[in-house]
């Protein structure tokens, strides 16, 4: 049985819009509009979509803080809203915009309190905390009150707080928002290790597609509350026919040498010394070998398909 399962999950919000001078009409807006999802234990799922697509709303329903307007959800075999307190022991949640730490107390105190709140055996708690302290570099600010932490420091604290009770599922809503390059890398490699260990299921929303590239084999893209893609990143590339590219620098201007099947010339620089090939099949090796035969090959670089580009194309499609 999947660890997370939803069928036709919906959430409508009622909003009041101005209709004429004084009248306001109530409108139902579907933020999540029938989502079917099954996530197996140990999966790392990237849940992405443009602003307002309904990602956070979905996570709120899966964690039990928001009642769905329709459809069903099961997480760890529990009904999130009805069994919220039981579910809370088995999941960890990081909403990048919010804090679950005690604002006025040092980070260390928050961690100690969480041990009582989640009733974690002392040894287990200590082991997990030691691990997070090492991997997320917490020691420097462990005794600082949470309100004085920088965003990146707090976020590392939040992730630790979400993991101290050993959750089966970790929901992360934009955990790398506003982090500098170093913190981002620390968080990413930490999450990658966590996923690789295989005990924790990860559901991650982000606008930083590098997070997805590094962490998630499976990608669910939603738009206007509906799933528009569910599969691997490679499948997404295939769907949009996005290609690897080979960029070569030549000693002499490009003269139209025949290239192996699958490779096509995409652009030639004005002076003719730099050519970009698209690879729809075949290998970069074949192409380079063919070019090397001309004797004017100076430099080669291979570019992987660009995730930003393909996702932008997906978002731009009418839902």
């Amino acid at each position: 049985m999947p660890l997370i399962e939803t069928t036709g999950l919906r959430k409508e919000f009622t909003v009041r819009r101005k209709a004429g001078r004084f009248r306001r009409r109530r409108h139902a807006v579907a933020a999540v509009d029938g989502i079917d999802l099954a996530v197996e234990r140990g999966e790392m799922l990237g849940y992405i979509g443009p602003n307002g697509a309904g990602k956070s709303t979905t996570l709120k329903m899966l964690t039990g803080v928001l009642s769905p307007s329709g459809g069903e959800a099961r997480v760890c075999g529990l009904r999130p809203v009805a069994q919220r307190t039981r579910l809370a022991r088995r999941i960890g949640v990081v909403f990048g915009q919010r804090s679950q730490l005690w604002w006025d107390l040092p980070l260390r105190e928050s961690f100690r309190l969480l041990r009582y709140v989640y009733r974690v055996p002392s040894a287990e708690h200590a082991a997990r905390l030691a691990e997070c302290r090492r991997l997320l570099d917490l020691d420097e600010f462990l005794d600082t009150p949470v309100r004085q932490l920088s965003l990146g420091q707090r976020m590392r604290g939040e992730i630790t707080a979400a993991l101290l009770h050993g959750p089966e599922v970790l929901f992360l809503d934009e955990p790398t928002i506003g982090l500098d390059v170093v913190s981002k890398q620390a968080v990413r490699s930490f999450l990658a290790d966590l996923g690789a260990a295989g005990d924790t299921t990860l559901v991650l929303t982000t606008h930083d597609l590098a997070d997805i590239e590094k962490l998630c084999r499976r990608l669910v893209v939603i738009d206007h509350g509906r799933v528009v893609h569910d599969g691997s990143l490679a499948e997404l590339h295939a769907r949009y026919d996005s290609r690897r590219r080979v960029v070569v620098d030549l000693d002499a201007p490009w003269d139209g040498t025949p290239v192996p099947a699958g490779a096509t010339v995409e652009t030639v620089a004005a002076d003719g010394f730099r050519v970009t090939f698209g690879l729809a099949g075949g290998t970069a090796g074949d192409l380079v070998a063919a070019l090397a035969g001309t004797g004017s090959l100076r430099d080669v670089s291979v570019l992987e398909p660009d995730i930003e580009e393909v996702v932008a194309r997906l978002y731009a499609e009418p839902a």
């Binding site: 909403f95 919010r98 006025d104 107390l105 009733r119």
Partner: protein
């Protein structure tokens, strides 16, 4: 409620104690605010004592059954209790509803009413050690205060303060919960401020009112249980039996308010719309 036994299980109590400890330390970090508050309450203690003693003098030394020193104690204990029961200004929960941060409270495996209650008791304990004690010491030095004659009154007074804090917490929690329905709760807060000042015994002892009004207030509203009750216990108004009745009324109101908070919380969650992404 079948949950009472789970709430009182040892692990649950340890959780509660830890949360209360956090509430205590959280408030203990704001020492200057504490001192400023204690100072203000002390200044008002002087003003109110002189008014009360003038009233008593005008009434021939006894007003509504309180003698002069009892009235002075009423004032000073009241000034200290203000902070312990936190009569004014608690909008933390409604603020969190408005900003959507309440979501973090719901993601914990502890009932929100319990975790807020535990934190509030921790806060009250800190207030007892600081904002209650400081004005009391000043009052004791500056005035002839009534001190309990029966030793049992001291523990009963502590129990009465505990009940008072729980009742006050319940009312404040319910006031804050209205934020789930009305995102702007200033009107509700105003109503609560009026009641908390006039009907708890803060402005004048409830006994100054006609008998029927006293009965209505004590039995049909939680307000006298919040302030007048602990004061009446400590000044030993009436017999030991009267003390027991006051405590029983308070205990009932504490239970009723907590139950109401749990019920309303459940309804509030059903219509919860978490604000903000």
């Amino acid at each position: 409620m079948g949950t009472v036994s789970t709430v009182l299980s040892p692990p649950a109590l340890r959780t509660g104690m830890a949360l209360a400890g956090a509430g205590f330390r959280r408030w203990a970090t704001y020492r200057q605010a504490m001192l400023a508050g204690a100072f203000t309450n002390t200044v008002f203690g002087f003003l109110r004592t002189s008014v009360m003693l003038a009233v008593a003098a005008g009434a021939g030394g006894v007003a509504a059954g309180y003698r002069g020193p009892q009235l002075a104690t009423y004032v000073w204990v009241g000034q200290g209790l203000l902070a312990v029961v936190q009569l004014w200004g608690w909008t933390e929960l409604s603020d969190r509803v408005r900003t959507g941060d309440v979501q973090s409270d719901l993601l914990r495996p502890v009932h929100p009413v319990l975790s807020y209650l535990a934190a509030d008791l921790g806060r009250a304990a800190f207030a007892l050690c600081s904002r209650f004690v400081l004005p009391m010491v000043v009052g004791l030095i500056a005035f002839d205060l009534y001190l309990p004659h029966r030793p049992a009154t001291y523990p009963l007074f502590l129990l009465s303060m505990l009940f008072a804090t729980v009742v006050s917490f319940g009312v404040r929690y319910l006031v804050n919960l209205t934020a789930f329905w009305l995102l702007d709760i200033r009107g509700v807060i105003m109503a609560w401020l009026l009641c908390s000042n006039a009907l708890t015994g803060m402005y004048f002892p409830i006994a100054f009112l006609p008998g029927w009004a006293q009965a209505v207030l004590w039995y049909a509203t939680p307000f006298p249980s919040i302030l007048q009750a602990p004061v009446d216990v400590v000044v030993e108004r009436g017999t030991a039996g009267h003390q027991a009745t006051v405590l029983a009324v308070q205990g009932c109101w504490a239970a009723v308010m907590l139950a109401a908070a749990v019920v309303v919380q459940r309804r509030a969650e059903r219509r919860l719309v978490v604000q903000g992404g």
